[in-house]
Amino acid sequence: MSRLRSQPAFKEGVRLGVPYAVAAVLLAISFGVLAEPVMGPIAPIVMSAALFAGSAQFAATAVLAAGGDAAAAIAAGVLLNARYFPMGVALAPSLEGGVLRRSLVGQAMIDFSWAAASRGGGRYDPAFMIGATLPSYPCWVAGTAIGVLAGDLIGNPADLGLDAMFPAFFLALLVEGELRPGLPAVAAGLGALIALALIPLTPAGVPIIAASAAALVGLAANRRVAA
């Protein structure tokens, strides 16, 4: 850890991670506000500390709030988190060390830090990713606690437009980092279309995982080089 902390990439990651963590506090507050009536005061905070996975937490809570049982809530959470598999596959070639160490680095994956650590050509900077994730963790847990405790004062988080913050953030990551002309733009457009088509047809989470199939247009890359 001390070696990690001295790496410039780690520090850069932390710097980029701070503004995101501020946004994460607001989203965590809205999670706390929405989850408290469903789970009581303690469980939402434990869930944030143990899962640290916003969309799965919102989905599982929504299922429980609608009267679903644990199996249905778990299924929703698992589906939403399944995208960490393709994300981890993309990250894997950039990781060093044994299985345990690589699995631990994988725990630092959140959508934002994973996307921000992409260095092009399929490479990722793990030290940067860990740094970018770090500020979000305490903010996510503390924000949940604030939401649980101050829910009555805050009211409905949607009134503040908080639900539009994360898609806007992902749009910024996409436009600034990944939307290069050619195949990346094709994969993004196709991924968006697959997700859009599947939203009304499938359980939450499936549209995002299915959109990873859009990356298969990459198989055309070699053929084009060969031709």
């Binding site: 699995s103 009134d159 749009l171 697959i194």
Partner: protein
């Protein structure tokens, strides 16, 4: 209440396993070129899907829900197009969504 704690316990384990799976199974070696060509495109594909799903699906999923978020995220897109920072873009998205929600 048992349902809540069972949900949290199982999801804690599955989340950690899912995050570990890719790195544990494939880590530390270079993949064939074809695989790399696909993997580079996972980021744009997944990010675009996240934008679409979080802008257009109902909170519980499984349903299209076109509401004020569309205007907020659209305004964020304009900010980016005009060269604004990610933070400005996020702030504008929240502000536009909140204001239109208050007015409509």
């Amino acid at each position: 209440m048992t349902e809540v704690w069972v949900t949290i316990a199982v999801l804690t384990v599955t989340t950690a396993l899912t995050r570990a799976s890719g790195p544990a199974l494939l880590g530390g070696r270079d993949l064939p070129r074809q695989a790399t060509n696909v993997i580079v495109l996972l980021a744009p594909a997944l990010l675009a899907a996240l934008v679409v799903v979080q802008t257009l699906s109902a909170p519980a999923g499984s349903e299209l829900d076109v509401d004020e978020r569309v205007l907020g995220v659209g305004a964020a897109g304009l900010v980016l197009w005009r060269g604004g920072s990610a933070l400005t873009c996020v702030g504008v998205a929240a502000a536009v969504t909140a204001v239109t929600r208050a007015l409509l």
